[in-house]
């Protein structure tokens, strides 16, 4: 079968599947980060430019828990989103909540500035060379799939990201809390007039979106080295993903995130030179053809 694939497309199968897997992993991060952005944008109407820094914080908190408190990966999966999410709640309470009545531009400038400050603080403290974080023992090693070796940790990242994306989607689409969220996204004032504490819901939603970024950060720690720029490198692509999927669309951000990761991986196989730009080219085409994004409501 592998020979058939090679014969058909003219590339070695391991290269193809290797890049597909890499694409899927990048896609997992795109999906989780753009999902958090979509959740936040839906309710707060703010494009959270701090998101990349919060992803980075998620990875750093995992590193600190291990280096300073001896708490390993699984503890980090639990504690890092809580800690970083809580820092998000404070940011929302102290800064972001003051801007809801003002033009979008203020939210953009504030969150961008906060992101730069956070990144700068971490660079000052930890330098920019990057800190290692080891794959937990349970997830190290690789499976021999016959046609390729699959590092277990990478498989785990894809599964875990899918789990968090689907869980988030289910909460928003199928639960009562999700109905409050959807309704408040449409018309917050009326939802509040029904007796729901919308300001608190907004704060918690921001915290949840930030916690999602932190989970992604923990997942990323063993793959990329933990360094202060890891978020800003990724987030630029994520914003392109968000534009392609359609700002604020939950399902759109998940599908587009994974899809574009795969497209990027395939581009590396067939036209390596274009792989760094393919997402931005797609973004330009989508913007021309469907400015609201593939899943956005025009």
């Amino acid at each position: 079968m592998l020979e058939t694939i090679e014969g058909l497309i003219g590339v070695p199968a391991p290269l193809l599947f290797g890049q597909l897997l890499l694409g899927l992993i990048n896609g997992a991060f795109y999906a989780m980060l753009s999902l958090g952005l979509a959740v936040i944008f839906g309710l707060l109407n703010i494009i959270n430019f701090t998101h990349g820094a919060q992803f980075m914080m998620g990875a750093f908190v995992a590193w600190m828990l291990l280096a300073w408190a001896g708490l390993g990966y699984w503890w980090a999966m639990l504690l890092s989103p809580l800690i970083v999410g809580f820092s998000g709640i404070i940011l929302e309470k102290v800064f972001i909540s003051r801007l809801y009545k003002l033009d979008h531009l203020y939210g953009l400038l504030l969150t961008l500035g906060l992101g730069l400050i956070i990144e700068g603080v971490f660079r000052n403290e930890f330098g920019s060379s990057g800190l290692p974080y080891r794959i937990p023992a349970e997830l190290s090693g690789a499976w021999d799939l016959g046609f390729m070796f699959m590092p277990i940790y990478r498989g785990w990242v894809v599964v875990a990201a899918l789990f968090f994306c689907i869980a988030t989607w289910l909460i928003i689409e199928k639960t009562r809390l999700g109905a409050y969220l959807r309704a408040a996204t449409e018309r917050a004032e009326l939802v509040q007039a029904f007796g729901i504490n919308v300001p608190r819901m907004i704060t918690l939603t921001y915290g949840a979106g930030v916690a999602l970024a932190a989970v992604a950060g923990v997942l990323a720690a063993p793959i990329y080295s933990v360094n202060p720029q890891m978020g800003s490198n990724l987030i630029i692509v994520v914003f392109a993903v968000v534009v392609i999927g359609g700002m604020g669309s939950i399902l759109g951000s998940i599908v587009t995130g994974f899809g574009l990761g795969i497209v990027e991986g395939l581009t590396k196989v067939f036209w390596p030179e274009a792989s760094a730009t393919v997402i931005f080219v797609i973004m330009a085409i989508v913007l021309l053809a469907r400015p609201a994004g593939l899943f956005g409501k025009a």
Binding site: A179, Y180, R182, R187, Q192, A193, F194, I196
Partner: protein, 238 residues
């Protein structure tokens, strides 16, 4: 007949309200007694919707006194006003497009015991059961209005603020809404109803307040309505 001698359920005094810099209400006074259906009549722009929104805490700034059940609510946030037992059905109905009919119906949380059960709701509004899984905004205008009212009957709120529930609906639907208002009155709900159409108001209400330029300028009992027609025609310009 409702008891209008005791303490009012809702007592609005010297209510002023602003949208940004625009001063819209200039000292509105209203009393609604338990079990009453009271209307606010008035021309377009008289301030009827603003009065309901001000009671609900949905205007930029408000001043004066709004007592519900003898408790001052002028300083409360709108969610706390709702929790106190006042429910609001907005003029545009406020059906959520991203929620299906059931989700729209179940959205407002219960604020007190004594609301209608879901079976009673479906008995009053059978269409809502049939269309349970439709997108809320796919319903007809009349069905959306029924949904908007049904969802606040569930919550246990005793005072309902209904903003022009008959606006833009066919006569047969208007009759259904009239019957429904009489039914909920019979069940002990208290209603403050905004209407432009006083012929409809006459079929459901105990008393009528007339608003002009952000003030209450007159009050007419339903039994005096026929003898006050000339006066009302002047206010309403019909």
């Amino acid at each position: 007949m409702a008891d209008t001698t005791g303490k009012p359920l809702l007592e609005v005094k010297d209510l002023e309200a602003w949208y940004g810099e625009s001063h819209i209400l200039h000292g509105v006074g209203i009393e609604v007694h338990p079990g009453e259906v009271v209307t606010l009549l008035g021309r377009n722009g008289a301030g009827k919707t603003t009065t309901l929104r001000a009671i609900m805490g949905l205007v930029g700034r408000r001043r004066g006194s709004i007592k519900y059940n003898d408790r001052e609510t002028i300083g409360l946030r709108s969610d706390l006003i709702a929790r106190a037992g006042i429910a609001y059905c907005p003029e545009e109905r406020g059906i959520f497009a991203s929620l299906n009919v059931t989700e729209n119906l179940m959205l407002p949380p219960t604020v007190a015991p004594g609301g209608l059960g879901i079976d009673e709701i479906y008995k009053l509004f059978p269409n809502l059961k049939e269309r349970a899984n439709s997108q809320g905004t796919k319903l007809s205008g009349g069905e959306q209005q029924m949904l908007a009212i049904a969802r606040i009957l569930r919550t246990g709120a005793k005072l309902l603020l209904l903003d022009e529930p008959t606006e833009g609906l066919a006569p047969v639907i208007v009759q259904q809404i009239g019957a429904m208002i009489r039914e909920i009155k019979a069940r002990g709900f208290t209603v403050l109803l905004v209407e432009q159409n006083f012929r409809f108001a006459q079929t459901v209400a105990d008393r009528h307040y007339v608003m002009e330029h952000g003030r209450v300028v007159d009050m007419v009992g339903n039994d005096e309505l026929l003898t006050s027609l000339d006066r009302l025609h002047q206010y309403l310009g019909v």
